[in-house]
């Protein structure tokens, strides 16, 4: 703990890591809530894995992979969104294919890039301690964009997630709203990749929100609780992993996963206890 605090005070990389963890918490709390209530975990998984394609291409041509990630995340969100609207019956198969194609493209480009390609691992599993200050500013602006757009479209997103058919009757562009939602999820994925890598993105996107759902009575409450949980998970993951030199991303997800399982179990016990009490109350 002292070693961690010492590093935090004296080294920029740990400050960056903490800041990115907090930025990621806001994004995953807000957008993860939509992913959980709209049940689009698989679609989000497709988007996040397809992102590797864009990162690989950017890396090959010598750009910061994060820009490739932004572009490919948006493209993937629109393509996968349209697939899920048009080909609803074969949705999972087509998304599975796009998921794999994106990753394969990324791996090929990274492989063909001359030089030392240790980066592949850090894209897949994240390396929050290696993120530069420049990326911090970019991620902060993505975060701001997400929060502003969610504020502006809050009631539309809520209505499309809860009752698509009725939203359509209200004259809302349901498909456009859905695609916008997926694009914001895609931007969130880009932020989260910096923290935990592509493989574990879905966990960070869904676990805080899924845990928050047990305690929230409205969407906005769920977003706030999920963001706070995200902040606790990322910060404690960084602290716990630092001294034993464990991978930060995996540690964060392990903590989040355990918290979710604990919440699920305690909720189950509570409702069983309530059921028991109700039964014993009725003669």
């Amino acid at each position: 703990m002292f070693e961690f605090l010492d590093t935090l005070v004296n080294h920029g990389f740990m400050q960056n890591a903490i800041i990115i963890g907090l930025l990621a918490s806001v994004a995953c709390g807000v957008m993860g809530t939509y992913v959980v209530v709209k049940r689009i975990v698989f679609i989000s998984g497709g988007i996040s894995h397809a992102v590797l394609g864009g990162m690989g291409v950017a890396y090959y041509y010598g750009y910061n992979p994060i820009y490739g990630a932004v572009v490919s995340a948006i493209v993937a969100a629109v393509v996968i969104g349209l697939v899920s609207v048009r080909y609803h019956q074969h949705e999972d198969t087509i998304i599975g294919a796009l998921w794999a194609i994106g990753m394969a493209v990324g791996i090929l480009f990274i492989y063909r890039t001359p030089g030392y390609s240790v980066d592949l691992m850090s894209y897949l599993f994240g390396n929050i301690l290696m993120v530069e200050r420049e990326s911090v500013y970019l991620l902060a602006s993505l975060d701001a964009l997400i929060v502003i757009l969610v504020f502006l479209f809050y009631k539309r997103f809520l209505s499309v997630c809860f009752d698509e058919e009725y939203s359509q009757l209200q004259g809302i562009g349901v498909v456009t709203t859905y695609l916008l939602l997926l694009c914001l999820i895609a931007l969130t994925v880009v932020i989260l990749i910096q923290v935990v890598g592509i493989i574990l993105v879905i966990a960070l996107l869904t676990l805080p929100a899924a845990t928050a759902r047990y305690y929230a009575r409205s969407l906005i409450q769920m977003m706030i609780i999920a963001s706070l949980l995200g902040a606790v998970f990322t910060t404690s993951g960084l602290i716990v992993s630092y001294e034993p030199n464990l991978p930060a991303g995996a540690t964060i997800i392990l903590i989040a996963g355990l918290a979710y399982l604990f919440a699920t179990a305690s909720k189950g016990v509570a409702s069983r206890f309530r059921g028991h009490r109700d039964r014993s109350a009725t003669p």
Binding site: L158, C161, Y166
Partner: protein
């Protein structure tokens, strides 16, 4: 009562889904302040008929007019009450927020709902007597309460036509009666089309009954005889093909 202005006009409509003919040669006219009950066995195409009137799906052939226009262009005049079982009851949303969705088309495009939207929602909730439930989680309500919330959501847009899909499924007889009394009261102001698989209760509240089983048979309530209903439920009806006008 004036029946001159046609609210819904359906003329020789066929509808098929995946090659199966669901509705065949449907002709129906519904006038202002009418209260039409649409009955028929499960899978007879009742809900399909409602969705055609809403313009959510389009017929294979035939003509549909709602308030003299294409259904899509009259949606702001229609309030729709779907089956509440189709909604996710674990979704974290309050009663107030469900009702407000009915104002989405009229509310400001960006940001939150305006004061007038909230007032309209409160008014609608008072009208169907669920104002006290406004801060509760929608999923925790009983079937009858959920139904009232969805009726309030339909009313908050100030519709001239109210469409209800099985509003009394999964509620007990007492609540069912309450809901029909409420609809009868609302019928002073709006035209109502109600779909139900249950012929019993419906005939004492509605003004006309239409039996759907791929084809449609229409009668004034007092003319509904056992024969008509039996014919509807036991199979396709061949002898009846007429426009219903009172």
């Amino acid at each position: 009562m004036s029946q001159e202005k046609a609210v819904v006009e359906i003329d020789q409509v066929d509808f098929a889904y995946d090659g199966d003919l669901i509705l065949q040669d449907i002709t129906l006219a519904v006038g202002e302040k009418d209260f039409l009950g649409v009955v028929g066995p499960n899978g007879s195409g009742k809900t399909t008929l409602l969705k055609i009137i809403l313009g959510l799906i389009h017929p294979l052939s035939g003509k549909v007019r709602v308030f003299g226009r294409a259904p899509e262009r009259s949606r702001h005049l229609i309030g729709y009450v779907p089956q509440h079982a189709d909604l996710d009851s674990s979704f974290p949303i309050s009663v107030m927020d469900v009702v407000l969705i009915g104002r989405l088309g009229k509310a400001p495009r960006l940001g939150g709902y305006g004061k007038s939207d909230r007032q309209a929602a409160e008014g609608a909730m008072q009208e169907v007597e669920i104002y006290d439930l406004r801060n509760l989680h929608f999923g925790t309500l009983s079937g009858g309460q959920k139904q009232r919330v969805l009726i309030a959501r339909a009313l908050v847009g100030m519709p001239d036509l109210l469409l209800l899909d099985e509003p009394t499924t999964s509620v007990d007889g007492r609540v069912e009666q309450d809901i029909y009394e409420l609809l009868k009261r609302l019928n002073d102001k709006v035209t109502i089309i109600l779909v139900s698989h249950d012929v019993g209760f419906i005939s004492s509240y509605v003004k006309r009954v239409a039996c759907v089983n791929q084809r449609l048979t229409c009668s004034a309530t007092h003319e509904v005889t056992g024969d008509v209903v039996e014919a509807c439920y036991s199979g396709p009806v061949h002898m009846l093909k007429h426009t219903c006008k009172l």
